[in-house]
């Protein structure tokens, strides 16, 4: 289902007031960084225990 103009407007409005630049992309980058960090720590954990 294609997003309607109203749905896209409501979605973009979430990130519009963020104090961070490009918040609509940055949130995904932050999640990926934390997720990769967790996965890396899980590998370290497996090697230690």
């Amino acid at each position: 289902m294609v997003q309607t103009e109203a749905a896209l407007e409501a979605y973009n409005a979430y990130w519009a007031n963020s104090p961070l630049p490009a918040a609509d992309i940055l949130w995904m980058v932050v999640i990926l960084i934390v997720a990769i960090l967790a996965l890396w720590q899980a590998r370290v954990f497996v090697s230690k225990f």
Binding site: A7, L20, M28, I31, A35, A42, F45, V46, F49
Partner: protein, 348 residues
């Protein structure tokens, strides 16, 4: 180095990792609120809400749309956990554990009943019939249920210091969401179904933790949580979604409309945060115990507020700052506990 010193060093390492996993859980849980909130305004969920609300009212629409979103969330969580287990080289272990129904798989399937349709649905009911702040406060009480059950059932020890830390973190969470709760309760329009939902959230997650602790006696946390979500997917996709479709709600019509890049992207990020958060939660239990793991994971309230401020720009009020300070004090009380206190997690 003598044996005692080696044992102490090993114990310190385990406790350090246990707290680290509980903290990863809290950070990822807090980040989950970003895709978890944004997905509601996207189609097909937005149109689905409108269609159901027009016929059955806003309360019913909220719960039914929540069921479909949660079902998709469970699906993307399984994908994220496959990546997690694949990276750690544990897919073979998963097959082996799945076959052992009696000693371990049954515990994780049971955990999925309490964590999925009871806790998550209860949380959405509390949100829909009372409000988001009430739902958050109700859920914060789950470590009390979890640690009490773990102590009663298999004698998990909880020191006075750890208990004090859990209580301070809960008080911090209540302060964070307190203002909102008073407004919601003061509206005088509260339905008993909302309170029931709050009770379902607190008991559901608490019981899930205690049951998972039992299953984790013999299974790996990474595998245990994947089986728990396999169980949750069966509950949503084989039982609840078809039952709602038979009851006349347009479940499959809108489920088939989900294949759109933006909504799929948001659902995938919800799956990564929720899946990795849950696996971290389960990994903390055998290392520091269910009570401590759930207590530190309760910092998600603080991380949710920080994520929402950073990315949605919602400025926190003074109650949130006071509550956040209480959360930090509570976690410091727990982190600074002498590891000798956690020498044995069980009383036996």
């Amino acid at each position: 180095m003598d044996l005692k010193a080696l044992q102490k060093q090993e114990r310190q390492k385990r406790v350090k990792y246990g707290y680290m996993w509980a903290l990863f859980c809290a950070v990822l849980w807090g980040l989950w609120y970003l895709p978890g909130t944004a997905v509601w305004v996207l189609n097909p969920f937005d149109e689905m809400y409108g269609e159901i609300a027009a016929g059955s009212g806003d309360g019913v629409a909220l719960v039914v749309v929540a069921v479909l979103i949660t079902a998709f969330n469970a699906l993307t969580v399984i994908l994220a956990l496959m990546v997690w287990n694949g990276t750690l080289g544990k897919l073979g272990e998963m097959k082996r554990t799945l076959k052992e129904i009696k000693p371990c798989t049954k515990w994780f399937f049971l955990a999925s009943i309490f964590g999925g349709p009871i806790a998550i649905l209860g949380s959405f009911m509390a949100m829909g019939f009372v409000g988001g702040a009430f739902a958050a406060v109700a859920a914060l009480l789950y470590p009390v249920v979890g640690s009490a059950l773990a102590a009663k059932w298999y004698g998990e020890k909880i020191s006075k210091r750890a208990f004090a830390g859990i209580v301070i973190i809960i008080l911090g969470g209540i302060t964070i969401f307190g203002g909102g709760v008073l407004t919601e309760l003061g509206s005088g329009n509260v339905m008993w179904l909302g309170y029931l939902g709050g009770l379902m959230a607190a008991t559901g997650w608490g019981i899930e933790g205690a049951i998972a602790g039992k299953g984790l006696d013999i299974a790996e946390p990474d595998i245990g949580i994947t089986l728990r979500f396999l169980g949750e997917n069966i509950i949503w996709w084989i039982i609840i979604v078809p039952v709602l479709a038979i009851a006349g709600f347009p479940m499959f019509k809108y489920a088939l409309l989900v294949f759109e890049p933006l909504v799929l992207l948001v659902l995938v990020f919800a799956g990564i945060t929720f899946g990795f958060c849950y696996v971290s939660w389960y990994k903390s239990f055998p290392l520091i115990g269910v009570g401590r793991g759930q207590g530190i994971a309760n910092l998600y309230g603080l991380f949710a507020v920080i994520s929402i401020y950073l990315f949605f720009g919602d400025v926190p009020s003074w109650t949130i700052i006071v509550g956040g300070a209480l959360c930090l004090i509570g976690s410091t009380v727990m982190f600074s506990e002498d590891t000798g206190e956690i020498e044995s997690l069980r009383g036996d």
